[in-house]
């Protein structure tokens, strides 16, 4: 009988009230993030950033920026809305407490000279720090592709949520940025 009803629903298009509004918790909302950011914190695609273990304050700011349009990304503009405003800090905290996935890189690239200028804000170990310009995220071990994308986005002012990063990135050539990204990814 039930089976018959289902078949009917599919064949005739009668929508049966069979699904309850899915119960949403912050945990279940954050779990939807992993389909892109990785079920073990390692995204499957190198254009998607590692966020497990990133600084909580930084994650929260990014989520706010995506929501308000200070930072632009079609997908993240939507996904950031899935977390309720009052839950943003808690969600960021949950993500920050997850472990940064282990690096798969086997060889450390040679450090480009320019890296010293990054350490001033991102920390001597490039693991992220509170800088004069606000919280600077961890860069060490992030995907090179993603880092290059973001550095170019800053340079072209497509990512406009940090004036300091924009002017700094505009002073570097694409080749310099690529070299830095490669080095950072190898840490």
């Amino acid at each position: 009988m039930k089976k018959w009803l289902c078949a009917l629903a599919f064949v005739t298009g009668v929508a049966l009230p069979i699904f309850a509004r899915a119960a949403e918790t912050l945990e279940s909302t954050v779990a939807t993030c992993w389909s892109c950011h990785g079920a073990a914190g390692l995204p499957s695609d190198s254009t998607i950033p590692i966020i497990w273990g990133q600084s909580a304050a930084y994650i929260e700011k990014q989520l706010r920026d995506y929501r308000s349009g200070e930072r632009s990304s079609q997908i993240m503009s939507s996904m950031s809305e899935s977390v309720r405003r009052d839950d943003l800090a808690r969600a960021a905290d949950m993500i920050a407490k997850m472990p940064w996935p282990q690096s798969s890189s086997t060889m450390r690239e040679a450090a480009p000279d320019l890296i010293a200028s990054c350490q001033a804000c991102h920390g001597a170990d490039l693991m992220g720090a509170v800088s004069v310009e606000g919280v600077a995220p961890r860069l060490a071990g992030q995907f090179a592709n993603y880092l290059s994308d973001q550095m170019s986005a800053f340079a072209r002012n497509e990512r406009s949520n940090s004036k300091a990063m924009t002017s700094l990135m505009q002073s570097l050539s694409e080749a310099e940025r690529a070299e830095i990204a490669k080095y950072l990814a190898s840490l």
Binding site: A9, I18, S72, Q74, S78, E81
Partner: protein, 449 residues
């Protein structure tokens, strides 16, 4: 119970998997919903306003496709008598396609290259003979339009995120012969939807520009309401949004010189494909509706666009379905004023480009039919879209149905090897469509049996 129903849907999958759908395989209502497992050339689908699932009937799920090279055993499938073949490859990020009066094919390669290329096909029309860069160094070039309409356009207009520019053009140019002239410079740059399609009315008097919303559903982009809403709607249009969403989720009109900006229609979340029906001058949009409401809510749509029409975003979708997420709360004053679109497309399919079949090659009864490219889903559990569909017309109006026409870009539940963006027709009547996943322009031909 839900599991039993899944059983029913996989039975459907089995039937569809056996190859071509039966000619009378018309799936209506919720049966018209499916995923790539149940796609098959010939399947006709019809979704109406009463078939819309409640928000979060299924949880919000993300499943972004991974674009892979064409697997050795993968093949596109289309209907009997038709053939799909690549016309040109290596066109990274190929988006909008427009054919010049002399047959040259213009293609915007929005990201990451930021250029517009021109493909000239061989005599048979089945292979690219030369590909040239018409213009480069552009930021997110998307829409392309020749002006004035007719056999001898003098300019090529290009829609970019923040502006509309035009290049001088004469028949046969494959490289711009002069610098770009900025025609419109006040288009919003910034968050979220960045595509800007552009088209002209058949008489050349009106330039239409589509600008999508700056967010999914304006949870934080509206800010304080205009003090005098009546005045605001008079200077914009019924249902227009404000704050960071001002002049967005709109079809705008300008003169071809970029003057006299007006809102033509509002509440269209992202009209990424703009087309003008040559016989009637009617404007059409292919639109992506909002995210985060679950696998089956709400449908995307393709529609004729009424002047002054309000299509719902962000406060409503597809008629009077209210959305409680926009900043500042609901707009009960707009209830009952939402124009229902013509063709509802399965939720999350992401229709991007549309074109009308001018005739000349496809079956005679298909003359005037619309075709749309579905870029494919990311915000549902199983992929849907990733195909070309036919939208039948009757007396220049869309009937509300659509039919799977070219399918097969999915390779398992995670990977895809193509993401259709735009459709157009070559001078010989063959259909062309672009794929920005692997940078290919395909050609679809027909031979009556």
């Amino acid at each position: 119970m839900a599991r039993l129903c899944l059983g029913a849907s996989s039975a459907l999958a089995l039937i569809a998997g056996m190859g071509l759908a039966f000619a009378d395989d018309v799936r209506e209502g919720r049966a018209a919903y499916g995923d790539w497992h149940t796609d098959a050339p010939g399947v006709m689908r019809k979704i109406t306003g009463k078939d819309i699932a409640a928000p979060l009937e299924t949880p919000n799920t993300a499943n972004r496709s991974k674009v892979v090279p064409k697997p050795a055993d993968a093949e596109l499938k289309t209907m009997p008598g038709f053939k799909v073949e690549p016309l040109a490859t290596g066109l990274t990020g190929a988006r909008v396609l427009r054919v010049a009066p002399n047959g040259d094919i213009f293609v915007s390669q929005s990201r990451p290259d930021g250029k517009v290329s021109v493909i000239r096909a061989n005599k048979a029309g089945d292979k690219a003979e030369t590909i040239e860069t018409f213009a480069s160094g552009l930021k997110d070039p998307y829409g392309i339009a020749f002006y004035p309409p007719g056999a001898n356009p003098k300019w090529v207009y290009i829609g970019m995120e923040g502006k509309i520019v035009r290049y001088p053009y004469k028949k046969g140019d494959m490289k711009a012969s002069g610098a770009a002239e900025t025609i419109v410079s006040d288009i919003i740059v910034g968050p979220s939807h960045w595509t800007r399609d552009v088209a002209f009315s058949p008489d050349g008097k009106v330039m239409y520009v589509a600008v999508g919303s700056g967010s999914n559903v304006a949870t934080e982009t509206l800010g304080p309401k205009p003090e005098d809403m009546a005045k605001f709607e008079k200077s914009h249009s019924l249902g227009s949004a404000w704050g960071k969403e001002e002049w967005r989720s709109n079809v705008l009109t300008y003169t071809p010189e970029g003057k006299d900006k007006k809102v033509y229609a509002a509440g269209i979340r992202n009209c990424s494909g703009l087309a003008v029906q040559q016989e009637t001058g009617t404007v059409f949009c292919a639109t992506n509706e909002r995210d985060l409401l679950g696998d089956n809510t709400p449908p995307d749509y393709v529609t004729s666009v009424k002047k002054g029409g309000f299509y719902g975003w962000p406060w409503f979708y597809l008629g009077d379905h209210e959305d409680d997420r926009p900043e500042g709360g609901p707009r009960p004053d707009l209830k009952g004023k939402v124009t229902m679109p013509d063709v509802l497309v399965q939720p999350h399919s992401a229709p991007l480009g549309i074109a009308f079949n001018p005739g000349g090659m496809f079956p005679k009864s298909w003359k005037g039919n619309a075709f749309a490219a579905l870029h494919g889903s990311w915000n549902r559990s199983l992929h849907t879209g990733y195909k070309i569909v036919r939208l039948p017309t009757k007396g220049n109006k869309l009937t509300g149905e659509y039919q799977d026409f070219v399918v097969g870009f999915t390779a398992g539940d995670e990977n895809v090897w193509g993401r259709p963006v735009d459709v157009t027709f070559a001078r010989d009547g063959a259909m062309l469509f672009s794929d920005d996943g692997n940078g290919v322009v395909y050609r679809v031909t027909y031979k009556a049996k």
